[in-house]
């Protein structure tokens, strides 16, 4: 009479399965940590660029046209941020603030409103307050390497790809 084998005592390959399960979860976790780190570097650079651009604009408020602001940002991109030629430029008026995209960085700032080569907007006059606001979109840049869209059945989750906007106000000198 044959005795049935006790299946629950078989342990061959168990470690491999467990390792595979653990490794996948662990890998996702590590990638999430790296992703988070990159996002923080980008956001830190965004805040620093906002401050540096605002300070530069405050010092050169009279002669810095909206075009020059865009070029300045393109030339002073900080680590973690991808630059490119300025695009989607909106030249400011007395009622509309200037804005421009420099790569994935969207900038909005107190406009110049030129008269010849001199800025005449009252917010660019010495003693006024100007602002620079930056917002970085990580989608499509090297900062973001994990998917931002998840779908399980009918349930769909989209992770926002724009870092929080940061605005800094400074005195025009």
């Amino acid at each position: 009479m044959m005795r049935p084998r006790r299946r629950h005592q078989r342990e061959g390959g168990q470690a491999l399965v467990e390792f595979a399960l653990t490794l996948s979860v662990f890998s996702i976790f590590v990638m999430l940590v790296i992703q988070l780190g990159l996002l923080f570097v980008a956001y830190y650079s965004e805040t620093r660029m906002a401050r540096e651009t605002a300070r530069w604009l405050a010092v050169n408020s009279k002669t810095t046209t909206d075009d020059l602001v865009a070029t300045h940002m393109q030339n002073t991109m900080l680590p973690g941020l991808a630059g490119a030629a300025p695009s989607n430029q909106v030249t400011g008026t007395t009622s509309v603030d200037a804005s421009v995209d420099v790569g994935s960085l969207h900038a909005q700032y107190t406009p110049c409103v030129t008269n010849g080569s001199v800025c005449t907007d009252s917010d660019r006059a010495p003693g006024a307050t100007l602002y620079v606001q930056l917002q970085y979109n990580v989608a499509g840049s090297h900062v973001l390497f994990l998917p931002t869209n998840f779908r399980i059945g009918s349930l769909e989750v989209n992770v926002p790809t724009s870092l929080p906007a940061y605005r800094v106000y400074v005195l025009v000198e």
């Binding site: 976790f29 988070l36 401050r51 002669t63 080569s117 602002y131 005195l171 000198e173």
Partner: protein, 533 residues
Amino acid sequence: MQMRLRRLVAAARTRESAQIMVLFVVFIMVLLVLAGSAYDYASIVVDDAKLQNAVDASALAGADALTSNQTLPASTQVALAIATTNSYLSDNQVTSSNSTIAVTPVPWVPGAGTPTPVATVYTGISVNVTRNHPTAFWPLVGVPQVTLHNAGAAQGASNMMDIMLAMDTTGSLVLTGDLTDTGMGKTGTTLSSAITNFVQQLNPTSTDPLGPKIGIARYAGIKCSWKDLNSDGNIDVYGDNSQPNEYTKTQTGTSCTDDVTVLSNLTQNQTNLVNIASGTSGSCPSGVPTTEACPLQHHPYILGTEVYHNGGSTQTNSYFPYFTGTKEPNAICALMPADSNCAEVPSAVSTNGFAWSTANGGRNGSGTAQAHRVLVIMTDGQDEAWPTTGVAPNQTDYAFPESPASQYDSMFTSLATNLKANNPDGNGGPGVEIYVVGYFCTDGGSYQSGTYPPNNFCESQIAYTSAPRACPGPPGASAPSSSQLSPIDQLLIQVSSSSPGTCDHYIPLSKTESLPTVFSQLAGTISRGRLTQ
């Protein structure tokens, strides 16, 4: 029963199912703690950066408000400055509801030799902000929040400044398209725009009696008589050095006269200053020569018909000499004509006297009522006579009627030393801080030591380097070695108020760059408040 219990315990010791689960949970917890720590640390760093931005912006604004309201009573002045500081903190999301804020006015501490003011004078603002940053994961290890402490202090702008501009208006600037000359039909607005930018950046206004005052002077070379060697009624000039001296001071009993004009004394009339630089003759302030200003322009010096001898060939023109060369000492003689090095200034300049005197608009009260005196010299060349400009630095230009060019250089440094020293005009008062802007051509692509081709005026070695240059350099940085500086660079550094071993008051640039932009930046450098902490 006891046996059965022992068997169960033994079995439990050998069973390994769910072991990996336990390990996994332990690892995940460790990783979660690490990731949480990283998140919290990064968010603290970002929040700290934002807070420092807010503190710096508010300190600068507060210090500016402090010095902009110096005419008000001290208590009102301080209250306004603190209100401005808090306003900027609020704009940048730092309020008393989320932070502990301390704003303190910083009193002015007079330097050695400067009288202590009777009442305390505040010129700076100190800001200290403490904010609790809540943590997301660190509460698990007993750290629910982290205290951020950010501090900043700013020194207010030195608004009470009396600034004279001495602008080189020699022919080379006409020839490079930077200066207007109506006789030659050339229009050049570079110098005009530079002055306009400078004035607008400093924004002088009579409503701010403690704000900056600005004056404008121009200079070139010397206006002399010339020899008529063959007595044919024409002027003879030799380009081949066959005659030792073509200019003359004594032949007809006349002396050379320095080609200098004071276009405006120190004033806060911004409109007049801008009109002198860039306006039309119709808008020129009363008494200002429209042949030299409105807009700023080259004024030719015409003696008559000249015969130019060069070897066997001769050439005749009827507008000689037109240009007057470059005499760099004139940059200072226009403003300090009583100095013994200035024997040939025109009588109008001589009568005008020391540019920073009270009679000329200077502010020379006691203590803090004494304005800070500044001179900005702009030049594009070196000491040379016209038309024989082909002489190397520190060698004798045979055309000079008086001292060789090398003595002009030493006169220039002597004048600068006298102007920078205390009591420069013999009536007390501090010395003058001198900035020098060297605006040089950079033809040929590289500096050629000891030779002049392709252009006699491309004499600055450092102007050939790329911006940002070693001069003026970052604060405290050493000047380049002498091998990297041509004679004109070394001369202009010596003339400027650069700290020993540095060139922090010498701003060289190439004519391919924007002089107006440099003047805007220089205005900011001279006037701006700065962070001190």
